[in-house]
Point group: C2
Chain length 199, copies 2
Amino acid sequence: MMTTSPISRPRERIIETASRLFFRQGYCSTGINQIISESGVAKASFYAHFPSKEDLAIAWLRQREENWMQQLSERVGQHLSADKRIVAMYSMWYDQLREEGYRGCGFINMAGEFSSEESPVRACVRDHKNRVRQFVADHVLDQYRDTMTSGGFDELVDVVYSLFDGAIVQAQNFMQEWPVEVALKASLNMLSHERGEAS
Amino acid sequence: MMTTSPISRPRERIIETASRLFFRQGYCSTGINQIISESGVAKASFYAHFPSKEDLAIAWLRQREENWMQQLSERVGQHLSADKRIVAMYSMWYDQLREEGYRGCGFINMAGEFSSEESPVRACVRDHKNRVRQFVADHVLDQYRDTMTSGGFDELVDVVYSLFDGAIVQAQNFMQEWPVEVALKASLNMLSHERGEAS
DNA sequence: CATCGTATAGACAGACTTGTCTGTTCGGTG
DNA sequence: CACCGAACAGACAAGTCTGTCTATACGATG
């Protein structure tokens, strides 16, 4: 009925290329022509798969979201204590920082290029950040849920999560590791403080 | 020799317009033609004052930097305790959040659109963030400098500052106030903890 | 008055943008 | 073999972009 790589092959090549270019150069600075030439796809094929450039951006963000959450789950799932889980969470960024040309969070950068709050791209970014926050609550800090007042737990989650995002942005600005190290340390300190330990 | 508004008047109009448009729409999405038409300036006049669009961006960032630091100094300078100074620092963002169409930190957004680490625009952003960090150390948390080990103090500054930037980005994503509130609370908690108070 | 600096308006060049369209090639299926 | 869907190459449209250019107007100073 269908060959081994009929409808999906060029589509995947396009998303792969877009993933690289949108992330490294930004959305506005990356043209359709560059995407199609670097992914070895005809322009007509491109528009057969994606109605517009923005639709490609959304497809990319959705795929990135899936990869990101899966990798996060894998890394965090190997550990049982909240401390180790936070360390695992931050290890995601340590790895990226060591690569050449660190560009921070693709979602945040993308949101910066779409000024309208109602843009579908912005909705993707919001969804992603909400999901990460929920992940922190459910799979990283879960064991603190019952040892605190419910409002206190939510705030703990928000702070750990804000520190996380702040570190990403700072690391991008300075192109250095210390913001990530500092945020990680601070998160662990907060937890030990929460457990009533003297520091 | 010179009339009351000879060389400076159109230049200021241009920067004013650029300030609004670059901030609200982003750098790439704002064209020179829109800038000159909205500031009521001829194209030749524009290029007489700014060699290129990027030079305008830099001029804008420098001006914004100056305004920002001055306003920060004014607000923080009215208070003597670190707690109140932090509150004053966060009040900068509370005010912006209440305005229509909050767009987060102009510097961070700008950096996202310039992928090259060596870009002069990126250098402006780095300078700004360094200056803010230095301000936190010298004029917000100064009284903790001698009550802690030097490394501990630097880390405290970094954390307070990372929380601050994280809150800005989160608030931009969600278009809500809670990230700022949470970061402010967390910063104050950290300080009270640093003073050895039970929480 | 003549001149000079700064402003204006707007045509223009040349490159680049997204998106459409025509026509060809190729591989699997009836 | 004939057909059909999908991918290919690439011209093309229509508009955008930055930046340059010519020509003109105005106000202050020599």
